[in-house]
């Protein structure tokens, strides 16, 4: 598959954006600038990037608790994301959601999700909506290895395959569900095997190789657009940080993280780009600086924004009913 330089540069930009946003968020969290549960995606950037680069603006995604990367890759605005991490009223969810619940309906982002496994069926439902309306959109469903032990995984794949729905299931296999390694949570190593039970294509790719992800997902998206149903794509990758910020990661075998850091998807892509004259070092540096500035702009925006007025707490529960105010 020939991938244009333009696409490669776009993917590079997305990956760096995710990395820099996350590194900044990590430091801000450590400084106590905001609280809550923050699950970082550092190390897994090639997955979200390769997937979302295969999608159109009008396609949908469902995300997870570890959603920042998906949202950035699908076109989320760093300013509104950072403001949401701070719980500010300019944030994507007006401060009601926080890191775990960022959504942007205008970009087809059907939401990060705090319930492990909730996305499988929601993505299937979005695909049902697409099929019903007869458009050629698709929905990509992100989920972790450990979520494939929820009944929703099996229900969603079964329904999607039976009804030939335009959904692409993206398993981010980072080897763990919190502290429990894959070998301790399921008796298989390749989650793509599970596609067999639903008679759909299932493939495993190197999730730290953005080209491999892009190619596999592009093919699956093409099938889905043609009405040929879902695909299960397993991307093997690794999270560098703890499960959430503050996790002491006692469960990691010594040396495992270091091994994976050698497979960092970003330098890998940089090397390719330099060797194939996609970009010069100087151009890359410039792009990096531009992204640094974007991240700083997001932090400034978030810090300058105000916290939501408490009266907003009772809004958005329904479209039409606003609960009586602070009457207990």
């Amino acid at each position: 598959m020939k991938i244009s330089n333009e696409t490669i540069i776009e993917m590079y930009e997305k990956m760096v954006k995710i990395r820099k946003f996350e590194n900044r968020a990590l430091n801000l969290f450590a400084e106590g600038q905001f609280g809550g549960f923050v699950h970082l995606y550092i190390g897994e950037e090639a997955v979200a990037t390769g997937v979302c680069e295969s999608l159109r603006e009008d396609d949908f995604i469902t995300s997870t608790h570890r959603g920042h990367g998906h949202i950035i890759a699908k076109g989320g605005d760093l300013k509104y994301m950072m403001a949401e991490l701070y719980g500010k009223d300019t944030g994507y969810c007006k401060g009601k959601g926080g890191s775990m619940h960022i959504a942007d309906a205008t970009k087809g982002i059907l939401g990060a999700n705090g319930i492990v496994g909730a996305g499988h069926n929601i993505a299937t439902g979005a695909a049902l909506g697409i099929q019903y309306k007869g458009t050629d959109q698709v929905c990509a469903c992100f989920f972790g290895d450990a979520s494939t032990n929820q009944s929703t995984f099996h229900e969603g794949l079964n329904l999607a395959s039976t009804w030939k729905l335009p959904v692409v299931f993206i398993c981010e296999n980072n080897g763990y569900g919190i502290s429990v390694s894959q070998a301790r949570h399921q008796n298989i190593t390749d989650i793509s095997q599970r596609a067999v039970s639903y008679n759909i294509p299932g493939i495993t790719v190197d999730g730290n190789d953005v080209f491999a992800v892009f190619e596999a997902v592009s093919e699956a998206v093409a099938r889905a657009r043609k009405g040929q149903g879902p695909t299960l794509i397993e991307c093997k990758t690794y999270r560098w940080r703890g499960h959430f910020e503050g996790d002491p990661t006692v469960y990691r075998p010594e040396g495992e993280l270091e091994q994976w850091k050698k497979k960092d998807p970003i330098p890998r892509l940089e090397k390719y780009m330099l060797e194939n004259q996609v970009m010069t070092q100087e151009e890359m540096d410039k792009l990096n600086e531009k992204i640094d500035a974007l991240v700083e702009e997001a932090v400034d925006f978030a810090q300058a924004s105000k916290f939501p007025d408490v009266s907003s707490a009772v809004e958005d529960v329904y479209t039409d009913i606003i609960e009586e105010g602070r009457s207990r």
């Binding site: 719980g87 619940h101 301790r184 399921q186 469960y251 916290f307 707490a313 207990r328």
Partner: protein, 323 residues
């Protein structure tokens, strides 16, 4: 006496029974190697081994369901769900299976199991990790429900819950895990259905449990300055309910405020109010008040969350409205 945190109390209750009875065992997500998301089971994996302290896959249906099956064949499992919010995922196993099997089968089975469910807000965990869902469980015939507020009660209620031959929902407030309090050297089981008068008073009864015990005691102190003498009843056990203790207190004070962290609509607090209205209406000389959270999901942002959840000031206001 000695000092223990609430979390340590929960663990001690489980540990005593595990030492005593090899049929008692624990399983749940990250309860083993990791020691539990809130550290409650820390050290038990090392002490009792993987057979009795098991990490499960992320499968709440299987966690509750496996507890039902294991209990049905004679074990006394203690499944843990990481957050009460995830009970939704295992709800069929809890509501249609655990709660009903004994009755449907004409009393042929016993299901001794204790389901541990960390509850409540106040930790910026947002809408899907902060709920107070006790009304769902108390609504279902076949389930018992307890909710300790301190280390001593955590131990005593755990001992009774594990010995009970019925499914017991053991709710824990996650803001209390690190709160230390004095505990007797040897804690006796606290029978399910026994409330605890945390503070005696003659002017008004506050009925509460869990974290709101602290808010209510704080409110009682504030009200004392205004010359209002408050009695605070910690229910500890939501079902069975110590109606005797409630009625006795109401007959003394003639005024009642019920405090819980639930969304007010359809709350367990409403059930307590209804029971008092049914049985004790003529003893009340003011409306029965509930202080609960607003009827919204729990928001992320700190100021919104604080606004939605009830606090000591809300309790003070509610009490004052009765005078």
């Amino acid at each position: 006496m000695r000092e223990l945190t609430y979390g340590q109390g929960i663990k001690e209750g489980m540990r005593i029974k595990m030492l005593e009875n090899p049929d008692v065992f624990i399983f749940g997500e990250d309860v083993g190697l990791f020691g539990g998301c809130f550290g409650v089971t820390a050290g038990l994996f090392e002490e009792f081994g993987e057979k009795r302290v098991r990490d499960t896959p992320i499968s709440e249906g299987a966690i509750i369901g496996a507890a039902v099956g294991a209990a049905a064949v004679g074990l006394r499992p203690i499944p843990e769900l990481m957050f009460v919010d995830f009970a939704t995922v295992g709800m069929d196993q809890l509501v249609n299976q655990a709660a009903k099997m004994r009755y449907m089968f004409g009393g042929k089975l016993k299901l001794p199991m204790v389901v541990r469910l960390p509850s409540g807000g106040g930790v910026a965990a947002a809408a899907q990790h902060s709920q107070s869902l006790e009304a769902w469980f108390t609504h279902v015939p076949g389930l018992k429900v307890v909710y300790p507020s301190n280390a001593q009660d955590a131990i005593g209620l755990m001992l009774s819950a594990i010995d009970d031959d019925n499914p017991v929902i053991y709710l824990e407030n996650k803001t209390l895990y690190a709160v230390a309090s004095q505990v007797e050297d040897e804690v006796k089981p606290i029978p399910l259905g026994k409330a605890n008068i945390k503070r005696e008073g003659s002017d008004v009864t506050i009925i509460t449990y869990g974290k709101q015990v602290y808010d209510s005691l704080k409110a009682a102190e504030m009200l004392e300055k205004d010359g209002i003498d408050v009695e605070v009843v910690d229910l500890r056990s939501l079902y069975p309910l110590d109606t005797e203790a409630i009625f006795e207190s109401v007959k003394k004070t003639h005024k009642v405020v019920i405090v819980s962290e639930e969304a007010k609509r359809g709350s367990y607090a409403g059930e307590v109010a209804a029971i008092i209205a049914d049985e004790c209406f003529y003893e009340c000389d003011a409306p029965i008040k509930r202080v609960c959270a607003l009827n919204t999901p729990i928001p992320f942002s700190g100021n919104l969350e604080a606004y939605v959840l009830p606090n000591a000031d809300d309790v003070v206001q509610a009490v004052k409205s009765l005078f």
